[in-house]
Amino acid sequence: MMVQSRNLASRVWTARIFMILFLCLIMFPFLMIISVSFRSGNFATGSLIPDTPSLEHWYLAFGLPWEDADGIITEPPFPVMLWLWNSIKVAFMSTCIILLLSTTGAYAFARLKFKFKEHMLTAMMILQMFPAVLALVAIYSLFDKLGNYVPWLGLDHLGAVTVAYLGGLALHIWLIKGYFETIDNSLEEAAFIDGATPWQAFRYVLLPLSVPILAVVFILAFIGTVAEYPVASVLLQSMDNLTLAVGSRQYLNPQNYLWGDFAAAAVLSGLPISVIFLFCQRWIVGGLTAGGVKG
């Protein structure tokens, strides 16, 4: 017995040391980028921890001009806050629409009977495997033409990007449908007996019971759309209309390499999204595994 517990203790220690080493490796990029954001200048100085910490990149990231010790004023290279705002606008709007449409859709698939239901579900299953990336030429042309009739849905408008993200519905319908099916429908049946319409049963009975999954889908869709790069990069062109995902790339142009400025902007914009994610991770993890395992 003695031998075994010593054996166990040594195993725990091995595991712990391994875990800590692994975490150092994983955390290296994050620690590094924070360090770089406080380093003056945009080029490596040969030390990993800044010798003379400076807030220059942080000023620029917040859109404030920075005056260095010699009195030289640097203007912010890019409108980061505007990009962040664009991203939030687009993500919020499209997430709301996605949530609305996928909830009603999932309700029909989970509770109502209609023709071709199984076919539609299978089609959704297959279609969610085709990301928008595969049809960028078509999406570009579609919005190019739409812009002739509805200007705010044309190229280089945030409206176009918002609407384009609606294609991501299929996955969420499956997630919500899975959750609806775990809710016993006896309550709804009781409502029907009392003369409720399907809409009333959905709105006043099922929906209040499904708040957790709606929150999960909202966060997943929000983070997904904030981080979306390909569609936005094709549809948006002018500097003031970019989303963060498209704009950030400009920092690491070989001709204009702004590593330090990028570091501050990355921490500034990445932090809120990461914190939201970590804050909600229990529910997200639950949603992911439930949705994933059920397929």
Binding site: A15, T104, F114, L136, L169, P198, S248, S274, L278
Partner: protein, 518 residues
């Protein structure tokens, strides 16, 4: 709106719902007429179809259950199904930056070209009132042909002129001042009431302009100067200029003007197979795409499973903190992490090379060496992807009954035996569809490649830009939206090929999932 048929007839809610539907229909039908007028027949037809089905679903009682799915289906159809079909359609055309416009538009461009006619010309004056200028001719005394006003900021354009008997407002500019305006005047053409177009031919005079081409019907244009004809060559999508009465081979003649879009059959597909500058890179990229996706799945699975086991292992205290830190790479938006790695791996300024230089005195060329670039891509993708696998594995590990491990502990099994004999066999079955999905995701992981390497280092001898770390999706992305000569047709042909692969993967996945449920 869902309440439309549920309310008793004549109730205000019902009228409101019907009114809303009617209003939406009217707006859309107005759009349809506009589209039809512009020659977008296919677009117009699709919208008519949507309007009809939508109206039926929301008005008819029999369509009631469809009301809940209709908007979602509409979104999926418009932004997934339609683009897929459209892409396949483009794959059979020569749509590219050289052949961008439809035939009608190219014809319009050619027909709007003008040339200056020698001979008769008209002296002009410029009148200024405030910051506005007018060009004025005096065909006969007391008669003034006055153009519409224009400012110094005017775009090049055609200004109609009107005949009037009063002297125009403002003051006449002296010749010296007119000369100062010559750059501006050159951009402004004048259209007389007779339809004749004039433009500035000398400092004192405007001369008439004529259209170069005349439409002789059946898409053939005639050059009015020499009688040459422009005949559309539908095999390449260009107009070709031929002398009058030419009956020889069209393909030998010079092309004129911008190209137009034509269906080119299987041309794009045969190019992929036969053009050595495309075929070689394409095969190389295809193989790399599969290797990359497989390696990503394998590495993320191994690390994810290992970490899941450690986090779930009770003796290891503080696993809540470990779990939180381990999930971090998944919590940070991928585009930020990828760009961070792009900077960290930088050859000269990157911190990874600074560190390697301090420790081992080496500075690997992460972005220009093919093998190192590929290694970097896999490392970064593993870093990005293992938390997802870990999350899935934790969920699956929880479902394994604990007494199995207790039994194996009594038999004195090692951790390795526990893993291979109990854990893996029990979770592999539900994991397989997820692994397939992960494979499909990485197969199309454009964000990683586009932001990390941009596909580079470039493959030498490729006709269309192609790189060693390019995967099929990023290859098509560069082809269609890169900096040099966008070739939408070819990109779509390769995208069509990707559809087939993704479709197959999706079908296999569906099969596997179905079998699991049964």
């Amino acid at each position: 709106m869902a309440a439309a048929t549920e309310q008793p007839a004549g109730s205000p809610l019902k009228w409101l719902a019907w009114g809303t539907i009617a209003a939406i229909d009217l707006i859309l039908l107005y759009g349809v007429t506009l589209m039809y007028a512009q020659g977008e027949t296919a677009f117009a037809l699709v919208i008519v179809l949507l309007v009809c089905s939508g109206t039926w679903v929301f008005i008819s009682g029999r369509g009631y259950n469809y009301r809940y799915v209709y908007p979602a289906l509409l979104g999926v159809t418009t932004f997934i199904v339609f683009p897929l079909i459209y892409t396949i359609n483009v794959a059979f055309t020569n749509y590219s930056s050289n052949n961008l416009l439809p035939l009608e538009r190219v014809k319009e461009i050619l027909l709007s070209k003008t040339y200056r006619v020698e001979g008769e010309s008209y002296p002009f004056m410029v009148f200024q009132s405030k910051d506005q200028y007018r060009v004025v001719f005096t065909p006969t005394p007391k008669n003034y042909l006055v153009s519409e006003p224009f400012t110094e900021a005017a775009e090049p354009g055609l200004l109609p002129a009107k005949l009037q008997s009063d002297i125009p407002k403002g003051k006449e500019l002296a010749f010296r001042e007119t000369i100062k305006l010559r750059q501006l005047l050159k951009t402004q053409d004048i259209k007389l009431p007779s339809g004749l177009q004039l433009s500035m031919t000398s400092l004192r005079k405007f001369g008439p302009m004529l259209d170069i081409y005349r439409d002789t019907g059946s898409n053939i244009l005639e050059d009015v100067r020499n009688g040459n004809k422009l005949i559309p060559d539908f095999s390449v999508g260009h107009f070709r200029e031929v002398p009058p009465d030419y009956n020889g081979d069209l393909s030998q003649r010079e092309t004129v003007g911008p190209g137009f879009v034509v269906y080119s059959g299987w041309d794009n597909f045969t190019r992929v197979i036969t053009d050595p500058g495309i075929q070689g890179p394409f095969l190389q990229i295809f193989i790399w795409t599969i290797i990359f996706s497989l390696l990503s799945v394998v590495f993320t699975l191994i690390i994810g499973l290992l970490m899941a086991c450690l986090v779930q292992w009770e003796p290891l205290k503080g696993n809540g903190v470990y779990r939180l830190l381990l999930i971090l790479p998944y919590a940070v938006p991928a585009f930020i992490s990828i760009l961070i790695f792009r900077g960290l791996f930088n050859q000269n300024f990157g911190e990874i090379n600074t560190l390697l230089n301090m420790l081992f005195g080496v500075q690997p060329e992460w972005f220009s060496n093919e093998f190192l670039a590929k290694t970097m891509v896999v490392i970064v993708n593993t870093w990005l992807g293992y938390p997802y696998m870990m999350i899935l594995c934790i969920g699956l590990l929880k479902s394994i009954p604990g007494d199995l491990y207790e039994a194996s502990a009594i038999d004195g099994a090692t951790p390795w035996q526990n893993l291979t004999k109990i854990t893996v066999p029990l979770i592999i079955k539900p994991l397989i569809p997820l692994l397939i999905a992960s494979f499909a995701f990485n197969f199309n992981n454009l964000v990683l490649i586009a932001l990390l390497t941009g596909g580079g280092p470039n493959i030498i001898g490729a006709t269309v830009p192609a790189g060693a770390t390019d995967i099929l999706v990023s290859y098509t992305f560069r082809m269609a939206f890169g900096q040099y000569g966008q070739d939408y047709g070819l990109a779509s042909a390769i995208a069509t090929f990707i559809f087939l692969i993704v479709g197959t993967i999706a079908w296999v996945n569906l099969r596997v999932t179905k079998r699991m449920v049964e």
